[in-house]
Every structure is written in structure tokens, then in C-alpha cells.
Symmetry: none
């Protein structure tokens, strides 16, 4: 079944609010085996809403509208659907009584303008709204379904889960769509695209690549009449990708690097400390975004000057020789963090976040060192796109990747 | 002029990411007097993208696409526009060289796949991408304009501001809409609403209130045929608001607390150091998000355990008596940071980020202390909503507000 979402609201087209209803519904529909092909944002303008509805009616089986069910003059979704269907709007006594009692429960009289919300057309059924005044509409005609849902997310989601989804499920072919995200690191997008190209032509499951801050994601999406079959299709493709990519795969679905490395540290009963220059505390902050990180994170040092680095135990002579942006200095920072904070592993990060170059090193230059004592050391250098926030984020992600690598062989 | 946005990307239609590009552009277009009537989300499917482009071509003057300019097989915006225009895609030597040099600067060879990004059609002009490999497209034909922008928000926004907007402005006529954001702190929303109520009824400029993480924002929006007139309307309303709110106003438009406090420190030739517990480095990272922050920021200490706090100079006896989440400990942290890092001002932050309470203190408890030596001290405690990321963000914002207050009277 093909679905289409029409989100109404002039505020969406002025950038005053971000539409969170469409992403919510977009994530729900595949679970019912419904394909979403189009999302359209249109203002509170009846001709344009009707235009969007007509097009959706031609090309989709299920049309979901959000917004425009309120009591104000700007709320015209009911009018637009009535125009599309060529049916008259009439007051429904039952809905009206429901509204009246809702207001009287709140101890207020129902304002005249709310009568608008009690109007309905013959081929529509009112959908109760447990948390708001606007009833939804369920329109069924010529095998097509129009679902008119309220705009406020908590009303829309509640109506979707409690009223719409249960009524919709029995009508569906029962096809299920399952997605699996495979997170990779260390292979450039274009190269990765070449490596997995044999699977890119597959139509079930489909494979798509997305460049994310924490590496390239591969998304497998399988469709089948039975969940078990879809899961099997995913599993087969996943094992092929594992064979191709091996350790370049670091996580799946919701996995986050800071959680992953945190768990690895906990399992190995290892503790961590950091000394940061260009990332300015973002590494420590990312590590401590994880609940329970105090189990393994001893603390961090933000050494934003040569003097601070020396104060934290980096050899002043080395700093005088090499400057502050240097691989040996990164190594010394990692070691000093480990010793100063009595941790098993220290991470040192120094570089040029920008906007100006430092010591002749271009913006985006980053040196990362990890010191686990003895032979357990690793280092890494990179030149990131010269945008300050990006350099910081990328350096943090790289540091966590390097940590993961070291821990894999610990 | 009528504009239309087409955001491409199957991940949008699976609810895996939320489209932030459309809201950004939707907020930008009115400033140029451009009316946005349609936003369409369509997957990485060439026939559907072409269908969306054809419709947009019929009903809009400016078509802005986002996404689909990457090097992978799924990136087909170039192909779709070429099909719409009925023009062939050819490699552009100049773009190709630009890509090659970008890769060689990063010390890697350009993958074959990226050649895709060097293709262009006769009626398109390549728009430089300062922070990514994907050049944008500026297509002009029969008085219509197609702008193809990259999907990653930081690339899209930079291209819009530096390349597109300046080229677009001279082509436009008609009404200009200008907005001015006035940022306040310290006055609750309802009270603020009362204070500015005389202006709330105004229709040009309009005034709206928004509650944000860094305080309540007032948004003035004026409309006029001439930019100068709109600016005049804003200026008049702004001076009235300044008269009403005085020092409760801390910034305008893009002003950020970390930039503001940074400038105040620089002007006063003062230096800063931090010791953080519950914020885990986020305060230092926020301070160092500001270019040039090394002028005044000496460094930070992330003391994620009592032991680390003591190692950084907090009196061990005090910690034994009071525990780690305590106002006196916050004050001791601020002082220790100031002394350890030889700064004029130290900030100490300790609290309970969650998910579990600490020492019987509920999640969301935060103690902040600022120590400028002698009598220049201030402290603050709060109980924030018990969500870990929120507690961290709120604590950082509060710390910077407290710093601003102290500096105002320095």
C-alpha cells in the first residue's frame, strides 16, 4: 500500500516550527508494511490543500493529513477534504455533545467557534481525541483512505497509536518492512560504495549509504509478508556485509561510540582519562554523556595553552621544541593524563580547530594519541574540513574510534 | 516570487532523520521577500524526484532542492535535474580539478566515484562548497531558477549564506520581511508577556515570545516595500523594548552567551578556568566553541570523582564532610580551578546529571560557584528537569549567565 503525508500549517512554511509529525508517522508506517512515497508541507490555504489532496488521491492509497482541525478560521482541513470529496459539511450532534461535555468537565462553556469542530461529511467517521478538542477523521471511499489527524504531536501520536493503528492493521496486506543500520568507520564513502556495490543492486533487501558524523552508515531494508522472512533477508545481507567489511563495522542501529567504548572499558575493568586541547572538553563531555560513565572515567584535563599543558605534566622542553600542535605532544598529553588521573588509559588530543592556523599548521590538523602504558599505545593524525565545530566533533569521534581499536586487541 | 523546496532522501521517508534544511530555508526566504508555498519530501528515486521537479517548475519561480549531490549511486539530484531540463550531463574539468585538489590536500587520492560530482549540465553553474565535496548547482532557464544544495546542514547553510543569498538578492523585488530576535534572561515568561503586552497587539512589526534554553526570546518581525523602512519599524519597537526590559536583555539575533561572556572577559583583560563534575566538560567545550577563546580561557578540569576533585586541589576534608554534590564543594572547585590554572576567575559546577540520585540529592540538582577572588564571588543552585542531557545543558547556560552577571559589575 502506498501512503502519502500532507502536513498543513503556514508556520511550517515560515520555518517557525519544525514538523515532527511526519518523521514520527514515517517511522511508524513501514512497521505496517505501508510504503511512504511523499511528504508535502502546505500552508493554511484551501485551494493549495485541495490541490495536494487531489494529487495524493491520484497516486496513493492512504492519505494522512496532520493539522488544521482546530477551531480557528485558519483550520480548514475539514473544508478541504469536503471539497475534494464533493460532500457537504454537516454538524454531527454526537460530536457536538462530546465537545460540550469536554468543556463542561473543564468547568467552562464551549466557545461558539468550537462548533466548527463538530462538522463532518457523510463518508467520514469521527475519531475520538482523548487529549484535545479536535476529533480526527477517517474517510473511506473507492478503496482509498484519508486519515485527518490533529497537529499537536501528543494528540496526533495518541490518536495514531490508540485509534488509527489498530483499525488500520486488519486492512493491510500484512507485508512487513524491517530496517537494519550497520555503522562503519575508516573506509571513505565512495570506497565503501564500491566495496558493497554487489548488494546495491538488490531490491529486497535494499541497501543505502549515509555519511554521518560517526562514520558511514549502511541501511538494509527488507520487505516480506512475514516478519520472520524479512528478518531472514536482513540477516543474510548483514552476514555478507560483515564478510566484506569485517572490523570496519563498529555498531548497529542505535549504537553510539561513547556507549560502545564505555562498555568495553567496563568489561575489561579499565579506567580512562583525557587531556584535550583543540576539542576543549568535548571529548570528556561526550564520554560523560553516558549514564554510569563515572565507573570508568577518572576525569579530564582541558589544556588550552602550552602553560596549562605543562602544568598538567607535559614536558615543558618538548613543548618548547615542538610547539603545542604536534604528534609527540599528543602522546605526552595522553601519558600525562593517564598518570595524573591514575587511569589505565589516557587520551591526548591536540590540533587546530580554527579559524586561524597555529604554528604553521592548517586549520583542521588534529593529532590524537592513546596511552595504555607499555606497548599499548596508538596515535593518529588527520586533516578535517576547516570548520571549527566540525573539527571538534570529528576529532572526538576519531579519538573514540582509536580507543575502540586499542580495546579490541587489549 | 514563489519558491518551493524539494528535500530528497529516502531516510526522510523512513523517519530516520528529521529534515532541518527546510525549516532553515523557510525562515530565510521571507527575509528576501520570497513566498514559500510548498515543501516536498521525496525519496532517492529518480522518476519521483523528476515528477516533483516538473510540478514545481509549473507552479514556482524558484526551486530549491537539498540532498542527493553526494558521490554514491543513491545521489541522483543531478541526474533528475538533467532529465527535467532535457540536457546531457558532462564532466566539468574545473570542478574535477577542484575535487582532486581537495582530496590531495587531505592527503588521499580521489575515489573514482567522486567523478560523479564533477558532472554538470549546460544551463547549470557550479556553486563552490567550502566545507564538502559536493558542489551545488545554480540553474537558470526561462526566468526560473533551480538551486541544488547539498544535504548536510552545515554545508547547505554555508552555501546558502555565502554563495546563494548574495547572488539571489539583486534579482528580487517586492516586500521585504525582517526579523529581530531579542534575548532576555531572569524574567519569567508570563511576567515578560505582561511587561511587553502594549507591543503584542502591534501588527507591523509583530512581536512573539519563545521560551528557549538560554532564556525567553522576543521576536520582532516587520514587513515593508523597502528594507530601510522595515529596519526603521524594527528599530522603533526595539528601543521601546529596551526601555521596558533594560538589563534583562542580554543579546540579539545570533548572539550566544559563550561569545558574549568571552568578549566581556577580553575587554576586561580577565582570564577564566573551570572545574566541572556533572557537566563533564560541556562547560569548557562550550566556552572553547568560540574562536579566539584561548585569549582568555586558561583551561578546564573535569573532576568526575571525589578523588579527582581532591587531586585538583579541593580540600579532601571538605569532600569527606559534605560529599561531592554540595554548594561549598562547588565554591572550593571554583577557587581551586582559579588557583590551579592561574586564572582571574574560576567556575565550579557540581550536581546530579542522573539517571540515579547521588548522596540523597535528586537528579537535576546543580550547584554552581564563581570565584573572582576577594569579594568577587557568586553562587547559584538549581533543580532542573531530571533528564541527563538537559541537566548538562541547563547547568552550562546558568554558569554562563552567572559569569555575565559577575562581569557586568566587575
Amino acid at each position: 500500500m502506498k501512503a502519502e503525508i500532507i502536513s498543513t500549517g503556514t508556520e511550517l512554511l515560515l520555518g517557525q516550527i519544525t514538523d515532527t509529525n511526519s518523521p514520527y508517522l514515517a517511522a511508524e508506517l513501514p512497521l505496517l508494511g505501508i510504503d511512504l512515497y511523499w511528504i508535502t508541507h502546505v500552508g493554511d490555504n484551501q485551494p493549495r490543500i485541495v490541490e495536494a489532496l487531489k494529487r495524493a488521491w491520484e497516486r496513493s492509497d492512504i492519505i494522512i493529513t496532520t493539522g488544521g482541525l482546530g477551531p480557528t478560521e485558519g483550520d480548514i482541513t475539514r473544508e478541504a477534504i469536503a471539497e475534494l470529496m464533493g460532500e457537504p459539511l454537516k454538524i454531527d450532534r454526537e460530536i457536538l455533545e462530546g465537545l460540550r461535555s469536554m468543556f463542561s468537565k473543564r468547568g467552562v462553556e464551549m466557545p461558539q467557534r468550537n462548533i466548527k469542530q463538530a462538522h463532518i461529511i457523510p463518508s467520514a467517521r469521527a475519531i475520538p481525541n482523548a487529549v484535545g478538542t479536535a476529533p480526527g477523521w477517517w474517510v473511506e471511499h473507492e478503496g482509498k483512505i484519508i486519515l485527518a489527524l490533529p497537529g499537536p504531536p501528543w494528540e496526533m501520536q495518541r490518536m495514531w497509536l490508540n485509534e488509527i493503528k489498530p483499525r488500520l492493521e486488519p486492512k493491510l496486506s500484512g507485508e512487513v518492512i524491517i530496517s537494519r543500520i550497520i555503522k562503519t568507520a575508516g573506509i571513505p564513502e565512495a570506497k565503501l560504495d564500491e566495496m558493497v556495490s554487489p548488494l546495491l543492486s538488490s531490491t529486497n533487501p535494499t541497501l543505502a549509504l549515509y555519511a554521518k558524523m560517526d562514520g558511514i552508515q549502511l541501511r538494509l531494508t527488507a520487505k516480506a509478508r512475514k516478519r520472520a522472512k524479512a528478518e531472514e533477508l536482513i540477516a543474510q545481507a548483514e552476514s555478507r556485509l560483515k564478510a566484506i567489511l569485517g572490523q570496519a563495522i563498529w555498531g548497529f542501529d542505535e549504537d553510539a561510540l561513547e556507549v560502545l567504548t564505555g562498555n568495553m572499558l567496563r568489561e575489561r575493568k579499565l579506567s580512562l582519562a583525557t587531556m584535550e586541547s583543540c576539542t576543549g572538553g568535548l571529548l570528556a563531555s561526550t564520554i560523560t554523556d553516558v549514564p554510569g560513565s563515572s565507573d570508568y572515567f577518572k576525569g579530564g584535563l582541558v589544556a588550552y595553552s602550552a602553560r596549562a599543558k605543562a602544568a598538567f605534566g607535559v614536558d615543558a622542553k618538548l613543548l618548547a621544541q615542538k610547539g603545542t600542535v604536534d604528534p609527540e605532544v599528543a602522546a605526552a598529553m595522553a601519558k600525562a593524563a593517564r598518570l595524573r588521573l591514575e587511569a589505565d588509559i589516557g587520551i591526548g588530543v591536540t590540533g587546530v580547530a580554527g579559524p586561524a592556523e597555529i604554528e604553521g599548521k592548517p586549520v583542521g590538523t588534529v593529532y590524537i594519541a592513546i596511552d595504555g602504558g607499555d606497548s599499548k599505545k596508538s596515535s593518529f593524525s588527520a586533516l578535517y574540513p576547516p570548520r571549527r565545530p566540525l573539527v571538534k566533533r570529528q576529532a572526538v569521534v576519531s579519538a573514540l574510534f582509536k580507543l575502540r581499536q586499542l580495546l579490541l586487541s587489549w
